[in-house]
Symmetry: D2
């Protein structure tokens, strides 16, 4: 069986695993006060060119989202996001459970736009009753988006500027950031992205680690007493160095970027194979998530040996499907798929 | 340097690490729907003799506590616990953040008593204004306790009966359960403990895994829609099989119990060494946490080569200290300590 | 100055005020355990033909909504409502602050439809990932709606049936219920409405009292321990009898219905005057809220002597406006308006 | 029947009722943006000698407490209070429901002490693990206390200074403040109290109004966006002027202080009568709540014609009881009691 279901179906990249093994017998202080975590923090800030910034490591994406968003918002504030945003759809109401509204705005190819943000904020403040409404107090976007798309430099700059003008922070969910950085046609570097937003989480789980996400901010004062809030949500890892060791491996020598490039290369090969066989794209994604429309008969046939995700029916004869690549995807996997198409 | 600070300063037991390596390249469904998780669940239920029960795997102890307690309580309910309970002292207000009061009751050697539970509940219902008070609606105890002590069979049976009579669930935090089962003088087996409470969490982090806790219940109906609630709190591990693989290793062949026995053996050796040198116990613990009162000068001297936790001053010349053992503690470590005492 | 801004700008109906004066010197038990509250409860249940039902009195509408919705929902559940619903727009995030998502659905003339509810619920359960999504677990509608419209018997019956089929409760916000019952073309009686939903709040504030809303349910078991939850939210009135006295006056002899009829009669007169003068309706409301499109110059002129609400610009020359009537509106008020139009 | 059960069993003081009647037919803007509310705010700030301060009106005490405390605390913060504090005992967990721990400290005659506050805060910051503990971030006291006692000038000054040194706000629950100001031996004026704390709520419900509490602060910046937070909790009164009218009556000509004096005079008469008959005090209260120990037989006899609160058994033959006076208590009531003693 070959697996294209998602990018969290396999363990860690062998280099990461190797470092976990090498450090397994060491004794270090708990809760992230160890040297591996300190070093990983330093490496990430260097990679982001944010010498004055700070990094906090958490275990998973929903956790990172809920702790960051709850920290950035005041009482009665909401977070602007697309209707397709992970926080709006697939986190079981985690944001609302912290007391905050996700203000959903219709997406454009999975993306928010500066115009829509500006309009929402302007309309809000022009409403005489706004003190009895949920205040739009931060913006959440994902990069790449839930549909695999990415923002151009102009798009992200405009969003960043709009947030800045409105005095509200911009938070980027980078669960699959490695693939966004390596995307076909990507204009934005990690340093640019990190400087255009206020808080960014760099995903590990889908980009080479067993688990773990790094929350990076260029303005540490935005996340006061963040360690206590992480603990409050049960998100403090006792053996915190595991996060440091893993992220240190990713960022010590460029492995993170390499994983991104590999995933995207495999995804582009996969897309090419599909298109050569005449299958249509559901959306044109330049990253490691690829969406196609396939005949149901073909889907049934493929599933004998290839695993992937059904994304919903498209009429009676066809369905949308998602294929995802990661560090473990090989050219042999793609060849096998090509053979069966 | 030799480390006795805590039982979460080292990586996973080598057997656990070995299984993580062996399974690293496999692809499996995410979120705990894999075969390793299913198998670990089966093993744990067998070890607990709860064929009709259920197991949920979470990443850490505070997380397990907050998700379980929030699930078991209705609006305006509180949880009875000792004043020294981890949920009352060291979880940063995690339980209150879910909206519930921790009703703290003075401990006796770190323990709650059936009498105190009964008195609190009786007094509550005899108070005419009780519908405007926080309802005592569940009991939390830790086994072993935060002070390393354990409950006798009579004590736990009485608590269980009292909870049952009051119609409120009993929840046991077993962060260090392995050491409680192997404790010097322990009367209770895992099966007995699991049957005397309604929900139990079996700790992995401090007993041989990298991370992870197994929430076990003999009454699955007590935790309805628990998967959604776990996700809501950001506590769902994407690569959920990591928990299954680790707990499967612990419970597949008795490793969990062996780790407990080793930790307690080391702790008893350590206690003996201390007492032979004439140092006093702060509390007489039969498990892997040992508390002593040492002269400050001796503490300073030891700390050159041995790391342990200061538990607070006792007068001007002495302090209480905590030494903790785990799977990685060796007789050489104890010998080195003896040499320096 | 004549006021049409809203229906909460004047005090209580003289009959209500009279009873408050008459009972002011009496001593009665607090927190709603008095005879006036008991009597008002009985009267309301009789008016609703719900002898087995229950009534709880609260102080305001947002309060009633947040306490009821929080009570009806389980963890990770959301409430379906229109995008224009009061709970979605004008309660400052009160529902989210209790941890629950308002699932907003595009309104049709301010209304939800059975079809949309059914589709949302069906789609949810057909989604393989639904256990990580917010469960649609109750429906909120307002009667009349925020746009003044009302549901026909067929419409409400279909919604009620759909909710019943889906096993989720239907909750009706009746802040302006009196005007809905008396609406031009209204098909539904109080008894029908109360029997078609699971929980209903009958508004007092906008229908003749100083403050206060009566939460009615035909299934008391849906609101277990509701008194404690009301207190938890700070919504328990110490001098609880004030609610009983006021609602007893409204429901003791038909005053509630009379107030509704008077408000609607005035509103219909006002609408007639506007239409005779050639002004367009923004929406055709049969209740006490009337929405028109007026030239901005006319608006400026009217505002010299008449107060009403600007509802937002409609192009450069015109704006939407809202006029609201209540028990205190007189034919002289309408005549004065007519004169200035 | 004569009633001494509590101070919320009767309606409003006749002067308050008179003003409500006189203003009932007026139309004013809602939500507290009316001239009566503005005027009451001005009067209260003048009475408190806080020209730079601010006042917010809420409906009830639990509501005021939960909104203020939630506003003053950051995530993971707790509020220090006595074990007998209303927020710790009789508000159904309202504070915890906003996510915050009530840190209960053993009371001394119903009071907190500066020493205990200082010790708790010092111990907290000396604990190495404090970032995983609940931060003591504000102090709550009631004046008078739940046991009727009051703080001396030295006591309150010391508490105020301690809070100031620790950088945490002091909040005073003045549900019965009028009686505290008029207490036998009271050293503190309203102006002193208002200047020694950061936020104070001046109770109306128990001191002459139908309902309502005025939250006063000398530092408006401590309560940012407070209107939105009040709405979020469902605590915004639509006909907000009712609060303004009532508090304007209390503070327009000294009525508030007069009510306090009357209540205390009646309470002192009542105490004298009890002591003359040889009954013991449970606690020596100088305010309108009086606690005695009476023989059970006498209690049964009195209850034929006099209503008061049982405070709990004291041995087999006696019980503690509470008698409360208010604006409606008369010398005839006391004489009747004396006659039956």
């Amino acid at each position: 069986m070959i697996y294209f279901d998602s990018d969290y179906m396999v363990g860690a990249h062998p280099e990461v695993m190797k470092r976990l093994n090498e450090t397994n017998h060491l004794h270090t202080p708990g809760y992230g006060r160890d040297r591996f975590t300190a070093e990983a923090r330093r490496m990430i800030l260097e990679a982001c060119a944010l010498p004055e910034g700070d990094v906090h490591f958490l275990e998973g994406g929903t956790q990172a989202n809920l702790v960051v968003i709850d920290r950035l918002l005041d009482h009665n504030d909401g977070v602007l996001a697309t209707d397709t945003a992970h926080i709006n759809v697939h986190e079981a109401g985690a944001i609302e459970a912290t007391g905050h509204k996700v203000i959903a705005i219709a997406n454009e190819n999975g993306k928010l736009t500066a115009e829509k943000i500006k309009k929402y904020v302007d309309d809000f403040y022009h409403d005489d009753t706004h003190r009895y409404m949920v205040r739009p107090a931060m913006v959440y976007i994902s990069y790449p988006t839930e549909l695999g798309t990415i923002y151009s430099r102009d798009e992200l700059t405009a969003i960043s500027q709009t947030c800045n003008d409105a005095g509200i922070p911009l938070y980027i969910d980078g669960a699959r950031l490695a693939y966004g950085l390596a995307a076909d046609g990507a204009e934005l570097s990690l340093q640019e992205i990190a400087s255009l937003c206020d808080v960014l989480y760099i995903g590990g789980t889908k980009c080479g680690t067993l688990f773990g996400e790094a929350v990076v901010t260029r303005k540490p004062e935005l996340l006061p007493r963040f360690d206590s809030l992480i603990k409050l949500r049960g998100a403090t890892l006792a053996k915190g160095r595991l996060l440091g060791v893993q992220f240190g491996t990713l960022f010590g020598g460029g492995l993170y970027f390499e994983i991104g490039r590999h995933g995207v290369e495999m995804a582009m090969n996969l897309k090419r194979v599909m298109m050569e066989k005449g299958y249509r794209l559901l959306i044109d994604s330049p990253t490691n998530q690829q969406f196609f429309i396939l005949p149901n008969a073909k889907i049934d046939y493929l599933r004998r040996e290839i695993s992937f995700e059904l994304w919903g029916p498209r009429g009676e004869q066809e369905s949308a499907v998602r294929f995802v690549t990661d560090w473990s995807t090989t050219n042999e996997d793609i060849a096998k798929l090509a053979e069966m198409l």
